[in-house]
Each structure stands twice: as structure tokens, then as C-alpha cells.
């Protein structure tokens, strides 16, 4: 959180606005919704700053459940309470669920069409690049991080090496690396307190 008295800023106008925002967002999310959530919530609608997104994502990540559903729940709750949380979650799931059931029925007919196979391959490659780029963009928010840049940068790099190269289970990365980062940050914040 930056300040308690934030200037007026964009926010969802109504529950239906919230529902539509998350439905449209989910429908753009081929191969994962994460990149789209960041683009829509932070860059287009500006309901969250880059730093707030990172903080919310930390909670969404550490809690069980699909991360993008968790963050939808949290954003909806912030504006409209429990009704908002359920509306945002419904927006994220309802229409994509109907769509995926239709696709499952169609799948047996077209799965092995070479054009369809190729198109899916192309979209998966784009989606992978999109998500990696989202991580790089989020890294810019580390500039305002309490830790010196070389520490937060080293932690991010160590995380990538641990997960990609050494294939460590997520829970260990969160507990060990996350634990070290949280402890270091705690000490910095503590020292800054009057």
C-alpha cells in the first residue's frame, strides 16, 4: 500500500461492470490469464498500480486455489465486498466454462486437423512469451522496493534458476526464498519506523 489517502482513481462503476471486465479478461486469456490480468487491471483500467498488483499477487500465490481466481476475488472484494468478490469470480469462470464445454464436444472432430494443431502451437508460443514479458514488466516495480535493487534482483533471478533449472517444488521456493525475502524486508521496514 502506498498511502492511506490515495487521490481519486479509476474503479469499477457497478457489479455488472465488474462482471463484464472479468469475463472479457478471461476470454482473452489463452494459455493462462495472468498476462491479461496485469495488462487490463494495471495498464488499461488502472484499478491497481503495478506495486499493488505485485502485493495482491503475493497473497493470491501463497493461498491455495487458482491464482487468477484468487486475485479476481480480492479485487472484487475491495470494491463491493462479498458480492463483488463473488461477481468477479463468476465473471472469470461462467462464460469460459460454457465455452470450454462446447470446445470439448467439438474437440473429437477437429483435434487432429493439421491447421488446428498448428494454430494451437502458435498460440501457445505467443502465450509463453506474453507471460515471461509480464514478469519482466513487473520487475520494474522492484525499483521502489524496500530492499536494495541488487538484493531483490538476485532473489528474482534465484527464483527463476530454482524453478526452471533445478525444478524445485513451488512450496519450497515460497517457504525458503520467500521467507528470506520477507525477513530482510521486515528488518528494513522495522529500521525505518520512528
Amino acid at each position: 500500500m502506498t498511502t492511506a489517502t490515495a487521490p481519486p482513481r479509476p474503479h469499477p462503476a457497478s457489479l455488472s461492470d465488474l462482471f463484464m471486465a472479468f469475463t472479457l479478461l478471461a476470454l482473452q486469456g489463452f494459455g493462462g490469464v495472468l498476462a491479461v490480468v496485469q495488462r487490463e487491471m494495471v495498464e488499461r483500467k488502472r484499478w491497481l498500480t503495478q506495486e499493488e498488483f505485485l502485493e495482491d499477487w503475493a497473497v493470491a500465490q501463497i493461498m491455495p486455489g487458482p491464482n487468477v481466481c484468487n486475485i479476481a476475488l480480492m479485487i472484487g472484494d475491495r470494491y463491493f465486498g462479498l458480492r463483488g468478490a463473488l461477481t468477479a469470480l463468476a465473471g472469470m469462470l461462467a462464460v469460459p466454462l460454457l465455452l470450454i464445454l462446447c470446445l470439448a464436444v467439438l474437440h473429437s472432430h477437429y483435434a487432429h486437423h493439421p491447421g488446428v494443431e498448428g494454430a494451437l502451437r502458435g498460440m501457445a508460443a505467443v502465450a509463453a512469451g506474453m507471460i515471461a514479458a509480464t514478469g519482466v514488466k513487473l520487475a520494474a516495480a522492484l525499483r521502489t522496493h524496500p530492499l536494495p535493487w541488487w538484493q531483490s534482483g538476485a532473489a528474482a533471478v534465484l527464483c527463476v534458476v530454482g524453478v526452471v533449472v533445478f525444478k524445485l517444488p513451488l512450496i519450497w521456493v515460497l517457504l525458503l526464498l520467500g521467507g528470506v525475502c520477507v525477513t530482510l524486508t521486515w528488518r528494513v521496514l522495522k529500521a525505518r519506523q520512528p
Binding site: N67, L103, G122, G129, L138, C181
Partner: protein
């Protein structure tokens, strides 16, 4: 699937067991429901034979290709279990049981935790946690992109480098420009359709 590949009979106790199993998996799904997919495979395919291995793999592939959260692969598994049990009614019941099971516990927990964190956002511990996790979160997001990128399979007799090149170009465009993500996905789909990848 038109004709179900296997026929199974599900008793009320089986439905309850399915629901209970997904309730439990939900609590274990740190990092997303996808992290419990190997356990789902063990339960549905190996232990109970409610799904064929092909149905399981197809459900994962379709959910990956379709828009929306990846957790919807759970709905497809419920759908196929229901179809194997003999009717579209059972298929819808399967979707409801598995999706409610996988979502209810995690959603409730996250809701309560997020509320607590929001109420106590000025506490040192909460600020240290949320800000301290940021570097790890950045690293995890980049890792997901790299892992998805390296999981991609080229067509039988074509090299992998065009896929990597496409990923890199898409990544650069997302990073440096504000081009709409759907244009990039459409471009990837077109290149693939015409077998240029």
C-alpha cells in the same frame, strides 16, 4: 466425445467421494489447481478407472488451448466422468461436483486471508510479507513463461527454433509496446495454421 469410451456406474457414495476428494485437493492447490493434476490422474484414472488416460490428456490439452483460467480442466474431467456414467445430466452433475469441490475451500480461505490482510495492512508483518514476496513473485511469473515455452512441441518434422523466435518476439512486443494481446495470439494462430511453425 460422442460415445463414451467406457461405461461406469456411479453410486451416491462415489459422487460423495469425488466431491470430498476435490475438497481436499483444493486445500493443497498452492500454485494453482494444475499443481494437483498428478494426484487427480492417480485418483480418477489409476485408482477408480472413471476416466481413460486419453480423456485425461485431452482435458488438459483443451483447457490449455481454450481461453479462461486453467482450472477449467477440472470441469472437463467432471464432464467426462459424468458422460462415462451415461448421460448429459450426469455430465453436468460432474462439472458441478468437481468445480464446487476444487473452488469452495480455496476461495473461502483466500477471501478470509485477503480480508484480514487488508484490515491489517498497516501492520509491519503484513507489509513485510506482501512487499517481501514481490521479488519471488516476479521470478515465478518469468519462470512460468519459460516453462510454458520449453513445453511446446514442434510439428513432427519441423525444428523448434521458430516457436522460440515467436515467443521471444511476442514477449518483446508485450514488454515494449501496448499492442493488444489478442492481435498477438491471432498472429500466432495464423502462422501455425499455415504450418509456418
Amino acid at each position: 466425445m460422442s460415445g463414451a469410451p467406457i461405461h461406469i456406474v456411479l453410486s451416491m457414495a462415489d459422487w460423495c467421494s469425488l466431491f470430498g476428494h476435490y475438497l481436499m485437493l483444493s486445500l493443497l492447490s498452492v500454485g494453482g489447481a494444475i499443481s494437483t493434476s498428478t494426484e487427480m490422474h492417480r485418483y480418477l484414472v489409476v485408482e477408480h478407472h472413471w476416466l481413460t488416460p486419453a480423456q485425461f490428456n485431452d482435458a488438459m490439452a483443451i483447457a490449455q488451448a481454450a481461453p479462461g483460467p486453467n482450472v477449467l480442466f477440472v470441469a472437463l474431467m467432471g464432464w467426462n466422468v459424468g458422460l462415462n456414467a451415461g448421460s448429459y445430466g450426469a455430465a453436468f452433475a460432474g462439472v458441478a461436483v468437481t468445480m464446487l469441490g476444487i473452488m469452495l475451500p480455496s476461495t473461502t480461505l483466500t477471501y478470509l486471508a485477503a480480508r484480514w490482510a487488508q484490515r491489517n495492512r498497516d501492520r509491519l508483518g503484513v507489509r513485510a510479507f506482501k512487499q517481501g514476496m514481490a521479488p519471488v513473485v516476479v521470478g515465478l511469473v518469468v519462470s512460468v513463461g519459460i516453462i510454458l515455452g520449453s513445453a511446446q512441441g514442434a510439428a513432427a518434422n519441423s525444428p523448434l527454433w521458430p516457436l522460440w523466435l515467436l515467443s521471444a518476439v511476442a514477449g518483446l512486443l508485450v514488454w515494449r509496446t501496448r499492442v493488444h494481446l489478442l492481435w498477438l495470439l491471432a498472429a500466432g494462430a495464423l502462422l501455425g495454421w499455415f504450418q509456418l511453425l
